[in-house]
Amino acid sequence: MNLTAFENLRLELRRGCLVLAVLAELRSEGHGYALVKALRDGGLEIDENTLYPLLRRLENQGLLASAWRVENKRNKRFYRLSAEGRDVLARLLEEWRNINGAIEKLSETRIPARRRQA
């Protein structure tokens, strides 16, 4: 099996999913480290050096809002979904369900049917 090709495709696939997961998780406010842990607990491993710049980019795009606050005597930056972010998330989730449904259909229904015909 071509492991490099698989790894590249897997990373490509995960990249888009991570944005969706981050947006979904930030429906409730949280700071970066807590988000890493939440994603990890949910089964999505993410490198901090990928997450923090991603949070900034999403904030620059207006999908997230952030504020510095003190928690446990430490200054932390808390992120939450903005109004625009909520709208984008809803549309992305719908898109995700459509893609997921299409992939399910394509991988489970059509190919065996074609094979049966062959």
Binding site: G32, Y33, E48, N49, Y52, P53, R56, W68, R74, K76
Partner: protein, 335 residues
């Protein structure tokens, strides 16, 4: 004995290094630095809680090491992560140009060295000079070509020329497809014989490729230095624009304007050189007593340059005739 750094010192140094490598405005640097610090402090705190004790400096060092080199961390925070000086789209052309420029330069320099060797200069001196020049060229030329392409890349990023193309403006497919038609055998024979005759004349005739130019404006040797630069520049521009014609910029409106301008200048310069008076020799500064082989080389170089000018002029003429013949399309689509 070297003092062991404390946990705080280790963290401070790491954050400082990240901030230095961000190369962003100070407020952004501070903001990102604070965020990286908050993240690392949380990690260290978690680890200390799991171990139920204060972390030792080597454990803090391990956490920082795992977090990644400051340069790697900083790179992720750049405004446009992974942006290259020369983008992948332009890189093949960049790489080709770089190799072509170096190959042409080295070839010319070696030919010059061979001709100089026939003179009175000792072989060792020639070889040393050749080695020095090749080394210098290996440094300077890639730098120059990279700079040119970086400027091109910047202009592309800023003005998005490549997004302005229209499918309608692409060149039509020639009737013979991608392969040019094979020349007839008679044309090949005549062409081959002409090359041999011209080559022989260039090598053995002392006056065949001498060019007249710039009477009253420059002396012969000054004219040489003034003109060869312009000529080379012109040939370079023409060749560059020809390459551009087969890239993604082929449909750019300003490319055609630039190409036409270069060709007009090329034609005018060729006419000027043919019509003017004093002797012009391209190559090293002309000294009447210098070796004959070097003089011949000068004449050959001059000949190549003038031929290039004539080709540019003829190419312009061909485009101009095509443009005049094209009914109802008098825009900027001369190419």
């Amino acid at each position: 004995m070297k003092r062991e750094l404390t946990n705080k010192e280790l963290l401070d140094r790491y954050i400082h290094a990240v901030k230095l490598m961000l190369m962003l405005p100070p407020d952004k640097m501070e903001d990102i630095g604070a965020e990286v610090r908050a993240n690392l402090e949380s990690q260290l705190e978690d680890q200390a809680m799991a171990l139920r004790r204060e972390l030792r400096p080597e454990e803090v060092s391990a956490v920082l090491k795992r977090h990644g080199h400051p340069a790697k961390v900083a790179l992720q925070y750049r405004e446009q992560p992974g942006r290259a000086l020369i983008s992948p789209a332009l890189f093949p052309l960049y790489w080709f140009t770089l190799r072509a420029v170096l190959a042409v330069w080295v070839t010319i320099r070696v030919i010059v060295a061979v001709f100089v060797f026939q003179g009175t200069t000792p072989a060792g001196t020639i070889l040393l000079t050749l080695g020095r020049d090749v080394l210098l060229a290996a440094i300077i030329m890639p730098a120059g070509v990279t700079l040119l392409f970086a400027v091109w890349e910047y202009l592309e990023l800023r003005f998005r020329y490549s997004e302005r193309w229209k499918p309608e403006a692409l060149s039509p497919v020639p009737p013979h497809g991608l392969q040019p038609p094979k020349p007839r055998p008679t044309v090949q024979i005549i062409g081959g014989m002409a090359s041999l005759v011209l080559g022989a004349l260039a090598l053995f005739s002392s006056s065949f490729f001498w060019v007249w130019g710039a009477r009253g404006v420059f002396g012969p040797s000054d004219a040489l230095y003034a003109m060869r630069f312009l000529l080379w520049l012109l040939v370079f521009c023409w060749a560059s624009l020809s390459w551009l014609g087969s890239t993604r910029f082929a449909a750019s409106r300003w490319l055609h304007v630039l190409r036409i301008a270069v060709e007009v200048v090329g034609a005018a310069l060729a006419i000027f050189l043919v019509r003017s008076g004093d002797l012009l020799v391209a190559g090293p500064k002309w000294i009447p007593t210098q070796a004959k082989s070097l003089a011949t080389l000068n004449q050959m170089v001059a000949g190549v340059l003038v031929l290039a000018c004539i080709v540019v002029g003829l190419d312009f003429l061909r485009r101009f005739i095509r443009f005049m013949r094209r009914p109802g399309d008098r825009g900027l689509s001369m190419a």
